[in-house]
Symmetry: C2
Subunit: 381 residues, 2 copies
């Protein structure tokens, strides 16, 4: 099965390329290095340097004998998108190619516009290219649990049956996100659902929670194959960031009361979920939605776990509650369903103290590279 | 009260400029003539030529002594948008500045991309400009009843209370539109609702049904002040188009079974609704949604009414059922609420035989200008 991985250079993109390659898929990684460019512009390079895609593909070939094809180009450019879909005739496409940071999307006009334009143009171009050049291609799209926000009712997997004044119908589960970035994902869902109904596309939309982790089966023992690991407020995810702060002796920055609860997932489980989705494609004209996380934690839970593990490693970890720079609920009901991927065969790697200890030991080896001014940026909204 | 009317050149824009000017508002009309350009490109110029905005403003001044300011520029261009908001400091903005045709949005890649890009970029720029330069400015946004689609439950005015597994919350009423154009309006709603919650904007989102009509209080007796009147499948609305077809001896083209039911509104009532919204602004941080139509008709109802009126005027009107080129339900439940604007004071002008007769008499005077090849374009989706 030939798979295009869009956004192949990112935190999830490169591990996905290797995972699918190892499992026998014919993988083409596509990227324009937007994420690297933004990190450079914002002075928030990741914890360690990462080789470029051609170098990574070469390292992978040396290690496994397997080829990962690389296409460098901008997926907002229709000419480029047409060319790669027409040339490769993919059976599936994994679409990660979006600006992925909520604070970046809230920073100023230019970062907001880039997020809106990039994310929607890429999703639109992928839809159009599949329709025109590879109509049975399965689109696996990375959405986010953040699309749902924090409603006062149970969150179902993508859909809800509504009974109203004695009649009923089935709808997309209501979405109301808490950043522009997350709102662009809501808009992606609207766009995909329209074209699924209109053109009979096959789509799997994965509502993913924040991801943590570094090691996967493919990169274990070879840190040159590690993904980007951002620890800054813009591009770093919650748990990864806290671990770096603990190592750097920087108080763990909890926004407001810290009751904000989300569904988290280990990087290895993201890879499982994507591969399970590819192996079990939806029917033509079906938009299948899964909630992709394995456990829920509050920010306070994460801070306490990191503090405990850090202290056991001899670090002096402090927790600091800051005035919340974001507009979000700090104490809320949160009960999202997440059975669909387990039914497909997902075997979760839950967050253990051993896992935290291993990750923090890796980070300690890169301690000298941590630049403290990258950690807190105070983007307000 | 100073009001920017965005999309001032359009079918609704120019009548709105005159109506608000007559009622004492300080009006600035803004447009880049996109609609005219698209009509030219697609060979679907309206039934009669329409003066440009400066000429119309001059005609209006001669007639009433009142000034309507004109700004020509592209609202996708942030520099232009910033300049006009900063310079005029509007109390309100009426936002019509979108590519308004469903079939145009479904024609090909370029027309779809233009629709997506233009509609979202303009809405985004308006939001950003209000926040940066006129934070208490009331945004009156033209949405569409088409955002809701044709669900099997009663359509409420924008919002729905959902009870689910013993808990409840209030959400945007579920939206699932049946063209890319309508889907961009759904995405506009998502974007507005996010920034209303985040920045405390004041927004009135008007879910309007198809509009018909030509004469208003302001242009009566002066056809140089009439709005664009398109009769082609791309830019003409259902009832207007059928009347021209009747006059031209072109069978009324009913798609499929013709049971497609929508909420319709006369142009004069659109003007009332917009002015009532301006006169009664929402609170800061409130997104107020009204369903803006006065009566529901099926396509068959419209065809029968036009046929009857046409026959009485001595025309030989035929009805032809074509294979439906669109993906839509041809028989469906449809019961949308529409009480909010009536509560604000709307006095509906319902569709009467007299009204149809008057409109058809006007069209008959322009009969020689009707180009038959413009009527049916067979855009499929």
């Amino acid at each position: 099965m030939k798979v295009l991985v869009l956004g192949a250079d990112g935190y999830l993109g490169w591990p996905t390329c290797m995972n699918l390659s190892r499992l026998g898929y014919d993988v083409i990684g596509v990227d324009n290095y937007l994420r690297r460019t933004l990190c450079l512009q914002e002075d928030c390079d990741p914890l360690f340097a990462v080789p470029n895609l051609q170098q990574r593909a070469e390292l992978w070939k040396q290690k496994t004998g397997k080829n990962i094809g690389i296409e460098i180009g901008d997926l907002c450019d229709w000419g480029f998108v047409e060319r790669i879909f027409d040339h490769h005739q993919p059976d599936a496409v994994v679409h990660y190619a979006e600006q992925p940071s909520a604070p970046y999307s809230q920073k100023d006009y230019d970062t907001a516009y880039l997020t809106l334009h990039n994310n929607l143009a890429v999703t639109f171009n992928v839809i159009q290219a599949v329709h025109a050049h590879a109509p049975s291609c399965h689109i696996v799209k990375l959405g986010t649990m953040g699309e749902y926000g924090t409603p006062n009712i149970d969150i179902e997997e993508g859909w809800i049956e509504i009974e109203h004044k004695g009649r009923q119908d089935r709808f997309l589960f209501p979405r109301q996100a808490s950043s522009l970035y997350h709102t662009t994902k809501v808009m992606d869902t609207d766009l995909l659902w329209f074209y699924v109904r209109t053109w009979g596309l096959r789509v799997t939309d994965l509502m993913q929670g924040p991801v943590y982790g570094l090691e996967t089966e493919e990169n274990a023992g070879d840190e040159r194959l590690y993904p980007f690991f951002n620890y800054d407020e813009l591009f770093g995810t919650a748990l990864n960031r806290f671990m770096v702060q603990a190592v750097a002796g920087y108080p763990l920055t909890v926004y407001g009361k810290g009751g904000q609860t989300r569904g988290y997932i280990h990087l290895m489980d993201t890879l499982q979920c994507v591969e399970l989705s590819l192996r079990h494609p939806p029917k033509e004209g079906e938009m299948r939605i899964f909630n992709q996380f394995t456990e829920t934690f509050s920010v306070n839970d994460l801070a306490q776990m990191v503090k405990k593990t850090g202290n056991e490693l001899g670090l002096d970890v402090k927790i600091q509650h800051l005035e919340n720079p974001r507009k979000e609920m700090e104490n809320h009901y949160y009960n999202p369903a997440h059975t669909g991927l387990v039914e497909l065969g997902l075997k979760p790697h839950k967050l253990t103290e051993q896992m935290l200890t291993d990750m923090m030991r890796t980070i300690i080896r890169y301690k000298d590279g941590i630049e403290r001014q990258r950690i807190f940026r105070n983007v307000k909204w």
